[in-house]
């Protein structure tokens, strides 16, 4: 328990991804089973224990401590678990009693056996025996949701690091492994062979493409490649086997709950790789694709209302067929798989599944022209796939390329700069930029913190320090007038309407593409010109 508490303490405050990975890897390497497996389950949201409600904890504190003192403490700290962990006054414990919560497994086991009232008294006993950091970890564990800035994906990457294997192997096995992942750890530590996948409808690691560089293109023979549109949705794997239906994200997370409409329509035996898109309602025969903004309405929801299901129906635009009726197709060439896919999709519910159309082209120049004039706004470029490529997990170099449409560009004026984190904490490295409104004021339209070189960062930092107008904690506002200021050329992938932003627009994936020291700020773009770019 102590090492887990120390791990949480460090992870909460560590901004660097590499440092987080190292902390996790070291933890997995030095913690015995089954505790490391339980920690892994907690980090990846797979730990299933009776949770303790905040109201129960408040009740417990009311019995032990003056109300006013507790309220003053809670007001100051702002987090219930942390407040209790800190103010807890341990009662002298009976040394003969043997319920020291030395390990995560003891905690999980005892709670699984205990009833609700019993659970509270067990908890009280543990809080008496742990130190503040242990109490915090325990309470976070029991109230659910660690919220320590570690995604399931990061935990899996750390596992892969620890076992010196590719993360796709972890993703492939993930859904068949039971907490506390003993077989998985035995394999990663080299003590036993790779566990076999026994679960029905497992995730199959996804094949990804490399970005096409101009120089590469000249070397490629266009005749050997197929091309299709790159749709701007969510890459998804729809797998249905032996009555088990699952929708996996490209990193192997089960996301089916958010898309019951699609899940329901999965009347097949097999596994399809495709893009999740939103259809305009009523577009039954030929599915008309909604914008990415429409799709966003359906993302990150725990439950989906009937109204939303009707107004924003989702469907899968199929790219590839990985498995059909128990037969693995992944070793077949793309040409072969594509033929099987066309036949397969034709038998599916047409309002939920359709085929990603191929692009007819003879030369790269012809393809470039199509790419420059896509038939739909939800297209973000083209995909190029070797006709004879097998389906390989990961991002192999060569068989597949993505050739994204050129980003949108605007010139915006630097308004605020914020200090970075970790390595960049001595630099003003996060920039808010704005464009001109009709009445000649600047309105912020986005924020970016990359796209520039280290040298450019030094120059901007110097500029910010020398042209500060005001400071608010870690943020400085800088001079931004039509006749004086710093102009950024900002690149981004798309623009949506947004009620949350003052400007009414939100950029997707904005980054600084060029510093325009030469450009007078008065000549930067206007909100009007920006609005014309909304898809």
């Amino acid at each position: 328990m102590k090492t887990f508490a120390q791990l949480l303490d460090r992870l909460v405050l560590t901004p660097s991804r590499n440092a987080k990975l190292q902390l996790l890897r070291d933890y997995f390497a030095t913690t015995p089973d089954p505790d490391r497996g339980i920690a892994l389950a907690a980090l990846t949201g797979r730990l299933d224990i009776a949770s303790v409600k905040p109201a129960m904890l408040r009740g417990l504190m009311a019995e032990r401590m003056d109300d006013t003192l507790f309220r003053l403490s809670y007001d100051y700290v702002g987090d219930l678990a942390e407040t209790i962990a800190l103010v807890w006054d341990p009662q002298p414990t009976d040394a003969t009693q043997d319920n020291e919560p030395a390990s995560l497994s003891t905690i999980v086991e005892s709670l699984q056996m205990a009833g609700k009232t019993q659970a509270m008294s067990i908890l009280t006993g543990w809080l008496d025996r742990l130190d503040a950091s242990g109490r915090y970890a325990l309470l976070k564990l029991l109230t659910g949701g660690l919220r320590i800035g570690v995604s399931a994906r990061l935990a899996k990457l750390a596992l892969a690091d620890y076992g010196k294997i590719d993360v796709t192997s972890i993703e492939e096995l993930w859904h068949g492994q039971e907490v506390p992942f003993t077989a998985l750890f035995a394999w990663l530590s080299g003590k036993s062979p790779k566990p076999t996948q026994t679960a029905a409808a497992p995730f199959r690691p996804v094949m990804l493409a490399n970005a096409l560089v101009e120089a590469d293109r000249e070397k490629l023979d266009a005749a050997l490649y197929a091309a299709e549109w790159k749709w701007d949705g969510i890459r998804l794997q729809a797998t249905s086997e032996a009555g088990v239906k699952r929708l996996y994200s490209r990193t192997g997370d089960d996301v089916g709950r958010a898309f019951p409409d699609l899940l329901e329509a999965m009347d097949f035996e097999g596994s399809i790789d495709g893009e999740l898109l939103v259809a305009k309602p009523g577009s039954e025969s030929v599915l008309e694709v909604g914008s990415f903004g429409d799709l966003q309405q359906r993302l990150n929801r725990k439950t989906v209302s009937k109204k939303l299901l009707a107004s924003h129906p989702v469907f899968l635009r199929a790219y590839d067929l990985l498995e059909e009726g128990g037969e693995n197709l992944r070793h077949l060439p793309f040409l072969e798989r594509r033929k099987r896919l066309e036949k397969f999709v034709s038998q599916l519910e047409s309002s939920r599944f359709d085929l990603s159309p191929m692009i007819d082209f003879g030369t790269w120049d012809q393809l470039a022209e199509q790419r420059a004039n896509p038939p739909h706004v939800a297209i973000e470029g083209v995909m190029i796939k070797q006709w004879d490529s097998v389906y390989q997990p990961g991002r192999p170099k060569g068989p597949w390329f993505k050739w994204k449409r050129d980003p949108m560009l605007i010139d915006a004026v630097l308004m605020y700069a914020q200090r970075g984190h970790g390595k960049r904490s001595s630099y003003y490295s996060d920039y808010t930029f704005g464009v001109w409104t009709e009445d000649g004021a600047l309105v912020p339209v986005g924020k970016a913190y990359f796209g520039f070189t280290d040298d450019e960062l030094k120059q901007i930092d110097k500029y910010v320090r020398e042209n500060t107008v005001d400071r608010f904690g870690p943020v400085r506002s800088v001079i931004a007038r039509p006749d004086f200021g710093l102009v950024f050329e900002v690149a981004f992938e798309g623009l949506n309407r947004s009620k949350r932003h003052k400007s009414g627009v939100a950029m997707r994936f904005p980054r600084i593409s060029r510093l325009r020291w030469d450009k007078p700020p008065g000549e930067a773009d206007t909100l009007n010109s920006l609005e014309k770019l909304i898809s």
Binding site: L13, L69, S73, G422, S425
Partner: protein, 340 residues
């Protein structure tokens, strides 16, 4: 005479009319008693200053030897008469030279704690309870960490946390933010006690005070200034570097290899507070009493009344109420939260 007639708050600080002196005045006054050398308690420009020898030395280091017209060094526990008011200085355990001041006049006994702590500190005289023949009428206490959430862990454990991280991340520099007077030397002293005998690097702002501590016989081991010859960015990898926190987020901090920012302060107990400051490794090391130490001290001294100076007075006054101790806030202005 009532206690409030003997000592009461004014905009310049605590004032004693019969003795005609201020304690820790925030502006220049003719006669001042100074508890310790932190800048918000010890200001320059007074007429006569009564303080311990070490506090006067520290003031001279910070402000120059002409920081006051007449330094009046006092020995521990020696009774000094000022216009018939008897004063004496007692160790407060806060930083080198820090004192509590006992003010006695006629039948009245008032203890002014200044800043104090009860925890282990190898770099200054430990807190000592004031001894009086009569019961103490008023204990004037600080309340910097007067909330039940502040329970400072053992300093040794915090130092172990730092050393564990140095082990785990040998390619990175550990930058430890410390206050120049007291905290810096305490962190160094604790590191040495934990067996860390490598060179510790310090920022220029710490040098004079560290040298003074060493002159006073406090062992700090090998210290070097954290200066850098051009082209040696990796020379601090795996090392511990101490400096004022403000320097780390400034351009000075850029010279270090992939730094981990650490901060030694009682405030680090609250995770959100650490996060806001961008601290990766908080070290909960305080030069003030935590909640339990405040309560223990009040119980031990058993004063008739508690007056609370700067800090979180509402919680401490609530606790006094619950324990039938008369208490009131003094609302003194001009004292900063430690290191904010």
């Amino acid at each position: 005479m009532t206690p409030a007639q003997l000592l009461h708050p004014t905009p310049k600080g605590l004032y004693c009319p019969p003795g005609d002196f201020y304690i820790d005045p925030v502006t220049a006054v003719p006669r001042a008693l100074v508890t310790h050398g932190h800048a918000d308690h010890a200001r320059a420009g007074h007429g006569a200053v009564w303080a311990t020898r070490q506090t006067l030395d520290i003031m001279a280091i910070r402000y120059g030897s002409d920081h006051c017209r007449q330094p009046m060094p006092t020995e521990w526990r020696d009774k000094v008469k000022l216009n018939g008011v008897t004063i004496s200085f007692w160790p407060a355990g806060h930083v080198l030279g820090s004192a509590q001041i006992l003010v006695q006049y006629q039948d009245l006994q008032i203890v002014v704690s200044g800043d104090y702590k009860r925890g282990n500190d190898p770099t200054c005289a430990a807190y000592e309870a004031v001894e009086t023949e009569r019961p103490i009428d008023v204990f004037i206490t600080e309340a910097t960490f007067a909330l039940p959430v502040f329970r400072h862990p053992a300093p040794e454990d915090e130092i172990a946390k730092l050393l564990r991280s140095v082990d785990q991340f040998p390619q990175r520099t550990h930058l430890v933010g410390v206050y120049a007077l007291g905290k810096a030397q305490r962190v160094i002293g604790l590191l040495r006690r934990a067996g860390y005998d490598e060179t510790i690097y310090i920022h220029g702002a710490l040098e004079k005070l560290c040298s003074y501590y060493i002159d006073q016989g406090i062992e700090l081991g090998d210290l070097q200034s954290a200066t850098l010859d051009k082209g040696q960015k990796d020379s601090f990898a795996g090392k511990i570097v101490l400096g004022p926190p403000s320097a780390f987020v400034d351009r000075w901090g850029r010279r270090f290899a992939d730094p981990i920012s650490c901060f030694a302060s009682g405030w680090m107990q609250i995770r959100q507070r650490a996060k806001q400051r961008g601290v990766e490794l908080p070290l909960i090391l305080s030069d003030h009493c935590d909640w339990d130490e405040l309560l223990v001290t009040i119980k031990e001294l058993n004063p008739r009344e508690v007056w609370v100076t700067h800090g979180r007075d509402d919680a401490l006054i609530r606790w006094c109420e619950l324990n039938q101790i008369k208490a009131r806030p003094l609302n003194l202005v001009g004292y900063e939260e430690e290191n904010e």
